[in-house]
């Protein structure tokens, strides 16, 4: 039965957006950070991050349900316009810097792994942000629907990749099971929990999701599927490469694709994985770009925020090009992740506290 669309996004689309925002992290240099801090137990870090996020996420759900609107509106409501803008700006900074760093990072990956001619670096960064800009410009519905169409393909690709490399795995490489020690792993888990803070960031879109139930369902599924995927891939990397080697491999996902074999048909399938990965990256950036512009619009109080997409994307490309090479971006990313982790874990708690205080005042 055909019916006219109401312009809002449903739970599946929202899940797909969360998936493209978070799950793609397994393919960039994030696993290196986690391997560095968790050693053989790195696969536990995302799980711990997930546990750390349970509280803030639940509080966020309560707030969204109560106020029936998005995170930013709630912040404005509870903290007043000045702090509201400040918080929105901080979130924007975190999202934007991640966008900028990653766009460079992804262009670097392509060049390092597939087209070893550095002259195309600019072109690649411009192209991918250009595609993302186009998609983001078509609106949140477009991002959600496109993501919903391709996410099943990404999931199938990931499963294929894992299965096609089973021959290369050695589960003994996973031992010692505790890796760098329980404390280290737990610290890493909490420190890197901002890797999944997207689930809180995406709260700014809550008002555009059809129902609260859809929002909650999609958030929960998006979070655990992304975390599960990261945990599995971290374990796979260690099992395939051994953790000594994996620390020195810049982009383990792409090395893994080189090992994928489909019988005797094709020598190497990496180009196929490359295509899917790049399509996913374009969607990832589209979502980030959309949220950046949305937040910036809130900060400067500019309603037609879609017009901000182009300047945001342009600035992101230029800033991303500043570091000489992708290794310089590494420490920056780590600092960013640690600092924003704190913010995202605390934000819902603070908001909830303010909400309680208010209620009490009213009484």
């Amino acid at each position: 039965m055909i019916k006219v669309s109401d312009g809002e996004i449903g739970s599946r689309e929202f899940f797909a957006i969360l998936y493209v925002m978070m799950a793609i992290r397994v393919t960039d240099s994030t696993p290196n950070l986690l391997h560095e801090s968790g050693l053989t137990a790195s696969w536990m870090i995302p799980l711990i991050s997930g546990v750390a996020l349970i509280g803030p996420v639940l509080l966020l759900f309560r707030l969204v349900k109560k106020y029936e609107t998005g995170l930013i509106e709630i912040t404005f409501e509870l903290t007043g316009p000045f702090f509201g803008r400040l918080i929105a700006f901080l979130i924007f900074l975190s999202v934007f810097s991640s966008l900028s760093l990653n766009s460079r990072n992804y262009a670097d990956i392509v060049i390092t792994m597939y087209y070893p001619e550095s002259s195309v670096l600019w072109i690649l960064a411009v192209l991918i942000l250009g595609a993302a800009l186009y998609i983001a410009h078509r609106g949140l519905e477009a991002i959600g629907r496109t993501a919903l169409l391709v996410v099943p393909l990404f999931i199938v690709t990931s499963v294929c990749l894992v299965f096609s490399t089973t021959n290369e795995m050695n589960y003994l490489f996973l031992f010692p099971i505790a890796g760098s020690g329980v404390t280290e792993v737990a610290k890493g888990g909490i420190g890197y929990s901002s890797l999944y803070a997207d689930v809180i960031i995406a709260g700014v879109l809550a008002s555009q999701v059809r129902t609260f139930n859809a929002y909650r369902k999609a958030s929960v599924w998006g979070l655990w599927v992304s975390i599960g995927k990261m945990a599995i891939f971290l374990a796979v990397y260690v099992m395939v490469f051994d953790f000594h080697a994996v620390r020195n491999i810049a982009f383990p996902y792409h090395h893994l694709t080189r090992m994928s074999m489909v019988g005797t048909i094709a020598n190497r399938m990496e180009a196929v994985y490359l295509a899917f990965w790049y399509a996913g990256a374009a969607l990832h950036f589209a979502a980030y770009l959309y949220i950046s512009a949305f937040l910036l619009g809130k900060v400067i109080g500019y309603k037609p925020f879609k017009q901000l997409l182009f300047p945001v994307a342009g600035t992101a490309v230029v800033l991303g090009m500043v570091p000489e090479n992708y290794l310089e971006g590494g420490p920056l990313r780590m600092a960013l992740l640690y600092s924003s982790s704190g913010m995202f874990l605390l934000l819902p708690v603070v908001l909830w506290g303010l909400d309680r205080m208010r209620k009490r005042e009213k009484k």
Binding site: K3, E8, I9, R268, A279
Partner: protein, 516 residues
């Protein structure tokens, strides 16, 4: 724009005959001759011999004029059901003579009272007969339309092996009848709208009132109302005028020549437009699935229909991506090919003097010419095309070192795959998009293909045709009968229309739905 304005103002100020819509709504006078003269003038009599009239006197001496337009009206009907009863009638010159004649005398099924000249002209050009009675301020319009038309025949475009074999013809009435035969439901609404400012044509808007989304009907009617064109001759013109994005590759309506397909679209809540002179029905809105499915999929058994769908899905991907993948692999990703084949390709390409892209474009364009020639050539010359085509796309071209044999196979498979795409629109779209992919692959290999595909998918996914998303109900996900890439068995395709009605009281609360 300026042109348009000029015409607008000139038209307004110009001194010319009023179009049918602009005929003054003057009421009839009681004088029969005046009325007759006025109508003669409107039809440019005696210059124009289209308007015929017959004057007669009833048994009781009442003067009556019978007017009709040759070609539009069926003269046999007029003789039998209008003139004969009128001549035999004994009417008394009392009040309500018009009613008397309508209810007592005329033996035809459709009669209507008219009282002004605009109505009279409209009725006349649509084939009705107008009866004017002396001394009465009202006339009678009698349905005697008798336009010539083709017999119902077999479809030529949407061919099925198994299933109904009748197609729409150029007559709106017959098309209505063909649809009514399929959908025996009293809630099948058939509204009439007029388009064309100068020469108005009737358009029928059909929908099933208990299934359709009212908002959709409203949108379609609004679009039709906004059409501002002098004359619309066929449904294809209407199609383009209704189009929200006339430059886009993706259509927002679909035309079908099969009544059974139109009926099944009606049952799924689409709106069907019919128009005289057009042997097809326009379906709005359109989704990807409507373009991708064929009528036959539902006529075959579950396994057979889905087998065909799987083959067609493969064909769609081949038609879109095969040449682009060839270019990308040869140019950027040779490691994807088994070494033996790689060597073979290299060997065969060695003697070809052009770069891969040029070679590919040459062949693609030749193939497009071949296709165009195949359509345009008169039937008796058809076999010649075959011979010529085989030369270019075959052994001769390879032997002349113009192309490598592998490329010939690639082009052939691509061409073949594009033939397997059922809808013309989808097929042409595929062929055009293919060139975009080739360009993308040429510049960036698989990365280019991936970016182009994502951007195009985002474009298609964000499109709405009359408010309905292009990939609905897959994305955005909506409850549906799940008849998407594969179809479930019919028993499982059963979706109670009630549950989908957006105007249904229970389901109307937007926040109350699961939304998943």
């Amino acid at each position: 724009m300026g042109d348009f304005l000029k015409r607008l103002f000139e038209g307004a100020g110009g001194d010319q005959q009023a179009s049918a819509n602009d005929v003054p709504k003057d009421p009839f006078s009681t004088n029969l001759d005046d009325n007759g003269k006025r109508l003669e003038e409107l039809f440019l009599f005696p210059l124009n011999d289209a308007l015929k009239f017959r004057e007669l006197t009833t048994q009781s001496g009442q003067r009556v004029k019978v007017l009709f337009v040759t070609g539009a009206a069926d003269t046999d009907k007029i003789s039998d059901y209008v003139i004969k009863p009128l001549l035999n009638s004994e009417t008394e010159g009392k009040q309500g003579l018009t009613d008397e004649i309508m209810n007592h005398v005329l033996t035809i099924s459709g009669t209507e009272k008219i009282s002004d000249f605009q109505a009279a002209v409209l009725k006349l050009i649509n084939g009705n007969t107008v009866i004017l009675i002396d001394g009465e301020k009202e006339g009678i319009a009698v349905e005697t339309a008798g336009f010539e038309s083709r017999q119902v025949a077999e479809p030529t475009r949407e061919i099925v092996i198994k299933g109904p074999k009748n197609a729409f013809v150029e007559s709106n009435d017959i098309n209505h009848s063909l649809i009514r035969r399929q959908v025996k439901d009293h809630r099948l609404v058939s509204e009439t709208a007029m388009v064309g400012v100068e020469s108005p044509q009737k358009i029928s808007i059909l929908y099933l009132d208990h299934i359709v989304d009212r908002e959709l009907v409203k949108k379609v009617k609004d679009e039709i109302d906004q059409i501002d064109k002098a004359a619309i001759l066929t449904l294809s013109e209407l199609e383009e005028l209704l189009e929200e994005r006339p430059y886009s590759l993706i259509p927002s309506t679909l035309s079908t020549e099969r009544p059974d397909r139109a009926a099944s679209f009606l049952n799924e809540g689409h709106v069907v437009l019919l128009m005289d002179n057009s042997p097809d029905a326009l379906i709005a809105p359109v989704t990807f699935w409507a373009l991708f499915h064929t009528a036959e999929d539902q006529f075959l058994r579950w396994a057979y229909g889905n087998f065909a769908r799987i083959i067609r899905t493969i064909a769609l991907f081949l038609a879109l991506l095969m040449p682009a993948i060839y270019v990308a692999v040869v140019t950027f990703h040779p490691e994807l090919i088994p070494t033996d084949l790689l060597l073979a390709i290299a060997a065969s390409r060695e003697r070809v003097p052009f770069p891969t892209l040029l070679e590919l474009l040459l062949m693609e364009i030749t193939f497009e010419i071949l296709r165009e020639a195949g359509i345009r050539v008169p039937a008796p010359l058809g076999s010649t095309i075959g011979i010529v085509g085989a030369l270019i796309l075959g052994q001769a071209a390879v032997q002349a070192n113009l192309v490598s044999p592998l490329l010939v196979v690639v082009i052939a498979i691509t061409g073949l795959a594009s033939f397997a795409i059922p809808d013309i629109g989808l097929s042409v779209m595929t062929r055009i998009i293919r060139f975009i992919f080739i360009a993308a692959a040429f510049f960036m290999g698989f990365v280019g293909i991936a970016l182009a595909a994502t951007a195009m998918l985002a474009y298609a996914a964000s499109l709405k045709s009359f408010g309905v998303p292009f990939f609905a109900p897959l994305s955005p996900h909506m409850p549906s009968s799940r008849d998407l890439f594969l179809r479930p068995i019919l028993k499982k395709q059963w979706l109670r229309p009630l549950s989908m009605r957006p105007r249904d009281a229970i389901r109307a609360k937007p926040k109350g739905r699961s939304g998943s």
